[in-house]
Symmetry: C2
Subunit: 810 residues, 2 copies
Amino acid sequence: MAHSGSLLWRNLRVYQIYGANTEVGKTIFTTTLCNATSKLYSSESTAYLKPDIVPLAGWKSIDTQQEGFGYSHIRKYARGVSVTTMHQYDLAISPHAAALGKTIPKDADLLSSIYSHLSDAARSGNPGGWFFIETAGGVHSPGPSGTSQAELYRPLRCPVLLVGDAKLGGISTTISAFESLRLRGYDIEAVLLFEDEQFRNHDYLKAYFEKKHRVRVVSAPAPPLSESQGSQEDAERMARFYNETMLSGTVKSVLEHLDERHKARVTRLESLSSEGHQRIWWPFTQQKLLSPAKITAIDSANGDFFQTLNAPRPEDFSEHRARQTPAPQEPLLQSSFDGSASWWTQGLGHANSSLTLAAAYAAGRYGHVMFAEAIHEPALALAETLLKGMSDGGNDRLSRVFYSDDGSTGVESALKMGLRAARTRYGWPADTKLGIIGLEGAYHGDTIGAMDCADPSAYNEKVEWYEGKGVWLTPPSVMCRGGRWTVKIPAEFHEAGSGMAGEMSAESLSDVFDFRTREARGEHQLYEARVERVLKHHLDKGRKFGAIMMEPVILGAGGMVLVDPLFQRALVNVVRRSQHLFSPESVQQPREKPDWTGLPVIFDEVFTGLYRLGRFTASSFLGLDADISVHAKLLTGGLVPLCATLASESIFRAFASNDKTDALLHGHSYTAHPVGCQVALESLQQMQTMESSGSWAEFQTGGSGAEDACWSIWSPQVVEWLSRRPSVAGVWALGSVMSIHLESPGGSGYTSTAAVALRDALRASNHGPAQNPWNVHSRVLGNVLYLMGSQKTGKDVVLHIERLLRQHLS
Amino acid sequence: MAHSGSLLWRNLRVYQIYGANTEVGKTIFTTTLCNATSKLYSSESTAYLKPDIVPLAGWKSIDTQQEGFGYSHIRKYARGVSVTTMHQYDLAISPHAAALGKTIPKDADLLSSIYSHLSDAARSGNPGGWFFIETAGGVHSPGPSGTSQAELYRPLRCPVLLVGDAKLGGISTTISAFESLRLRGYDIEAVLLFEDEQFRNHDYLKAYFEKKHRVRVVSAPAPPLSESQGSQEDAERMARFYNETMLSGTVKSVLEHLDERHKARVTRLESLSSEGHQRIWWPFTQQKLLSPAKITAIDSANGDFFQTLNAPRPEDFSEHRARQTPAPQEPLLQSSFDGSASWWTQGLGHANSSLTLAAAYAAGRYGHVMFAEAIHEPALALAETLLKGMSDGGNDRLSRVFYSDDGSTGVESALKMGLRAARTRYGWPADTKLGIIGLEGAYHGDTIGAMDCADPSAYNEKVEWYEGKGVWLTPPSVMCRGGRWTVKIPAEFHEAGSGMAGEMSAESLSDVFDFRTREARGEHQLYEARVERVLKHHLDKGRKFGAIMMEPVILGAGGMVLVDPLFQRALVNVVRRSQHLFSPESVQQPREKPDWTGLPVIFDEVFTGLYRLGRFTASSFLGLDADISVHAKLLTGGLVPLCATLASESIFRAFASNDKTDALLHGHSYTAHPVGCQVALESLQQMQTMESSGSWAEFQTGGSGAEDACWSIWSPQVVEWLSRRPSVAGVWALGSVMSIHLESPGGSGYTSTAAVALRDALRASNHGPAQNPWNVHSRVLGNVLYLMGSQKTGKDVVLHIERLLRQHLS
C-alpha cells in the first residue's frame, strides 16, 4: 500500500465521494453539494477534484467517455467552483495518451499529487472551505495502476459520502460497498441516494443504516430523464433541477450534518490526549511525568505509518500553558513511521486488508468457540503451520501446540510444562523448590510467574510478589564498535585463569554465527567451562533446577542485547550432556528420541521468532532445537493478541495420567480464539511466501553462504558508520531490528536517559516532500534507541531513516 | 439471527448461488450447472431450489416477474432436474398473496423449510447428488422478511458460487459482494461470470481472486442477446446455447473442482479430531483420558449454536474401534446449543455481524497500534463507557482504566495495584510479605500470580510454583434446595457460640439480596464477628495484608457457588472500618473522598460482570463499590480476548513519583488493541441498549422492587422443580446462568464425576424438528452442571432445554 498522509485540516472539510456502483449519481450529488456549499458558504470556498480519468492498462473497465462526464458536468453546472482533474494538475497525461494506456501514474505518486493539491487548497483557502473528491465507478473499481480505489485511497482516509444505488439490486450493492469501505477503516459520514418510487431502496436503506450503523441516509429526487443528452433544452432542465430541487432544506441539513461531524471529529481528536490523560492507566509509564502534550494521539495507521495529531512538540510548551494546535490551514495529521513496530508486533503493515478479511472471516464463521476438548479448522491449521515451520527450521522435536493469549501467559505455560517434565522424570516430590537457569538481563513478561523467570531489575524489583527463582548467567554480548564486530566477555569468565582476552572480534556478524570455525578455534571452551562452574556451584549447594529458559540471540526488553550465540550453544550443550548433575541419583533414561536430556530447554521466541530476525525461528541461528518454544507478537502479523507454546511429545507425556488433576491445568477463556488463529495463519503464510519468493532479496547482501546468514533491512554501511560515532557505544542490526547503544556516562540500563535526545530528534525531523513530510516515532530502552521495521518496510523508507540518523549523529 | 442447522451431507453437494448484483446471470449459470451435473452424473441426482420469490412487505425491491424468471427458465431449459420453489413446497403462499405482501414467512420457518427439503433430498437421493439453491438479486437483497439474504441464509452456511458482474462497475460490485459474504463466514468455492469483451472484468477478477484469495474464477461466453424474449426462435437459441456453448470443458472442470472441494471439506472435517488429537495440547484436559471421539469438531457457529461434526457419541464405540461416521444420506453436521457460552464468554451470539464489522473496522483503521504514551479513539471511548457503566451501577470511585489481554493478566495487574497502594500508604518496606484476603473456593486465573490469589485446590496444588498467598474465608452459600432458598452457614461460624442455626432460609432469591431487611434482623452480625475473629487471628500472628480480592456474588470455576451476598458485604465492611487492624501504627489518613480504607477492595468481575448476572456490574448486587475492578470475558461480547482493570484515583496515585521505576511496570504488546476495544465498545452498547429497551422483560418476573432484583433467563419454576429432585443437592439461577449441584456420594468438587451423566444425556438428546434437531453441549465442574445462555438466548430455546432437564432428571 502506498504511503501518504491522511487529509485533515481544520479549515477544509474534505470528502471523498464513493459510489455503490457506476451510474448511481455520484456526479449529480457532488454537483449539488458543490452548488450548495458555494451558495451557502462562499463560492471561493468550494473545490472539486476528479483524480482519475485514466483507464486501465490492458483492459478498459472504466469508460473514459463516461467518467469524463463528472468533470465536464460539474464545470457546466457548478460555476464558480474550482474544478480540477489530476491529469491536468501535475501528471502529464493527455486524455489521448491516457486512453492509450501509455502512462500510468504510480499509486504513491497519485496520492502525493492529491495530498499536495489539497494542501495547497488548505493553505490558500479561506476558513470553512469544502473539498469534494470524486472517485470513478464503484468502491473497488480499479484506479490507474489497477489497484482497487478503496485500497488505493485508503492512506488519505477521507471521510466518505457513499452514493447509494436506487436501482433494482441497489440495496445489496449499497450495503456491500459500505462494508468494503468499513473494513478498510473508512468513516462513512452519509449515504446519499436517489428516490426511486418503484424500488424505494431509500426507505429500506434509511432504516438499515440508521439502525445498524447510526449512519445518516439522505435521499433526493432523481434528476429529469433526458432522451437527448446534450441538448439546450436538456441543459436548461438540469440547471433548473440544481436550482430548484436540490438546493432544498435536505441539502442544507446534509451540509450542517457534515459540518457538525467535521468539527466534532477535530474537537475529539484534539481532546484525545487530555481525556486519555484523565482516564487511562498506561502500561510501563510513570504518569506523574506524563503531560497530555507527550501523549501521541493516533487517528489511524496504514502500512508502516501512524497518522498522529500534529500537535506542538512537548518541548515547545510547558504543561501549564494552553495547548496550541496548528493554524487552520496547516495539516492536523502527521505521518509518523512506527519505529517500534508497535511494541515489536508489527509485521505486515497496519490496516493490512488481507489480515482484516482473515479476522472478519473467522468472526463471521465462528465468533469465538470454546476450545477445551474441541477443535476447529484455524486452530488445527495454525498448529500444523507452526510445527512444520519449526521443523523446516531444524527443530524436529516439537509436536504439540498449546494456545494462550500473550507472550507472558505463553511463558507461564512453558514454565509449567518444563518444571513438571523435570520433576516427574527425576522423581522429585511436588513441593520441591525448583529454579530455572536463565541469562542476566532476560525478560519474559509481566505476570508474576514470568517475572520470576528473570533476574532482579528495574522491571520487577519493586513488584511486591516478585521473587526471582533462578540462577542468572551473565552472557557475553556482541556489537559493532568502532567499525569492528566485537564480542565482549564478562570479567567473571576469566576467573578460571584462561588466557583469552576480554574481547574477541570478527569481520562480520555472520562470522560471529559461524560456529564451525569458532568451535574449531575452541572459542566455546571458555564458555562451557564457565557454565559448568556456575552450575556446579549451585548444585553443590543443593539447589534444584527444572528448566533452562532463554530468549534466543537477543535479550529484548532487557536492553536489546545481542548475546554471543556461541554462549547460548555452550549453555544448552552443557546442560544437555549433564543429566548426572541435575539428578545424580536418576537412573531413568530418556524414553524416546529426540528427547530432552539434563533439563528441558525453553526458548522464548516471543520477540525474536517468526521472521523478526529474518528467519522463521530464531533458534536456527543457534543451531539448537528447544524442547519448548514460545511464539507471540509477530504471530498475528501485528493485529490481535495470541500466543502459541510448542512442546515436544516427551514434555507433553509428562502430564499424562489417569488423574485429571495431573493435566496442565492452564487455559484462558479465549484459548485458540478463531480470529487470532485465522489471522496468524494468513500472516505466517504471507511471511513464508515473502521468504520463498525472495521479497527480502534487496536487503540481503547477496554474498555466499555465511554472509547471507545474517541479513537486515538496515544497511551494513549505516551500522558501520554509526559504530564509529563517539556518542555510540555500539550497534547491531539483524532482520528488521537495529539497536543503537549510546554512550551513557551516568550508567546504562532502563533508567538511563541517554537515548531520549535522539528519539526526540527523530520525532522532530520531517522527511519527504515539503507538503507531506513524515517523522519517526521510536522508543528507547534506557541508553538504547532501537528501530524496528515491519517485514514489508521498503528500501526507500529505510534509506530515509538512515539519512536521518547520519544527520543527527554526525 | 434465526437458528437452523448447516447443510452438509456426504452424498449431496449443495451450493448456494449468490449474485454480485441482480441480472448478472445467476439463473443462466445455475441452469448450466444443472444441465451439466444431470448429464455428467445422473439426471436424477440434480435438484434446484428457488426459496424466495416473495416480494417484501411495504416495498418492492424484488420484481416478482423478474425473479420468477429463474424458476420458469430452469424448468424449461434444465429438463429432468428437480425444480422447486419454497412457496410451492410448504409455505402456503400463492404468488398472488405474496405479491400483495399478505403472508411473510418468518426467517426461521423459511430456513427450516429449506433444511427439511434438503434433508429429504439427501435421504432419497442416490449417491453423488447435486443441489443448487438460487438466491434473489444481490447478496444483501432482502429476503421475504426484509432480512438481508447473506444474513438470513447464514445459518445454512452453504458453500457459495458467486456469480460476478461482467458489466461496467462489475469489478467493484463483485469484490464487494465477495467481501460481504466472507465477513459472514461463507466459503466461496468459485466466482463465475460472463465474458464481456469491452470491459473484460473476468481478466481482472481472475487475477484478483486467484492471487488475493486463492479462489477459482471461471468465465464463460454470455448467452445470445434477444430482442424478443419469449419467442420460439429465442427459445431455440437458448437451448442451443446450453447444449453447445456451456457444456464445455470449462463447466466440467468447475464441477470437478467443486467435487474435489466437497470431498476435501468432508475429509478434513472428519479428520479434525484425530489430527488435533496428535498436535494440540488442550487447556485443562487430561489428554490421556481423551480419545478423538470425545473431541468436538466445530465446523462453524451461529447465534447460540455450534455446528459440530455429527460423529457417533463417545459411548458408542471404544477408542480402538474404527471411527464410524453417519451414513451418506444422514447430515454430517449437528446443531448444538453452546451451553457453556463458550467458556463463559458468549454474550451476543456467535458470528454476530455487528461485532464482526466492528472488529474489521478497527483492523482497517489501525491494525494494532502501540499504546504506551499513546491514545486512540476506541481505547478512550471504551474507557469512558466502562467508567460510566460502573458509575451508573453505583460505583463512583473508579476513574482509571488499565488494559490487558485476559482475566488472569487483569487480575495480576489489579493485584500489583492493590498491594502497592497498601504498602505505600502504610509505609511498609518493599520486601514486606503481603498476603491477600480471599474466599475459599476462589478462582482468579492461571498465571502464577493469579493462582497465588486462591486457596489450594485441584487447580493449583500440583503446579510447581504455586504458593497461595493469603487467608481464605469459607463463605456461606445459597441454593434452592427442596423448593426453599437456603443459606448454608459453615460450622466454623458457630464457634462464637451464636444461637443461629446452620441454615437460614428465604422465600425467594431476591429476599436473600434484601439487605435492608436482613441487616435489620441482624443477620450480618454473625458474619462480621466471624470476619473479625479470623482477621485478628492472622494479624496477631504478624501477618500483613495488601488487598481483599473476591469474585462478587458467584465463585465461578470454584464450583459455581452462589455466596451469601450478605457475607461479602460483611467482609468488606469489616475490612473498610478496620484500618487500625492492618496498620496499628498508621496515622496517615485517606487523602481524598471516596478513598479506600482498611485495604483496597478488588472485585474480580471477569465472569460475573457485564450482564452475565443481568446487570452491568455484579457489585451492584452487593451494594458495594470496589477500589479495583477487573472485567473480561463478556467484555467483547464473546469474540476476542481483552481485559480492563479499573481503579480509583487513589490507587492510581500510589504509583506517582518522579522515578519511572515506581510506575506500574506491567504491559502487554497488544495492550488496548483497537480490534478488542472497538468490539467491546459495540458489545457494551448493544447490551446497554438491550437493558434500556427491556429486551429481557420476558425473563423478568414483573414483580415489584426486590422481586425484580434477581431475574434469570431460566424460569423460577424449573429452578424450583429441579431443587426437589432427589439427585439434586441444590440449584440456583441468575442472569443467564443456571447451576445444578448434583448429589455426589463420592464427594463433591472438581474431581467428582456426578454431573457427567447429565451432561452426556443432554448431549445425546435431540430436540426440535425431526429433520433438524439440536442437542445441548454443556460443561461440568465436578458435581455441578451449569448452563449458560448468551444475553440473546430466546425464550423458546430456554424452554426446550428446561424440558430436556425435566426429562432427564425426572
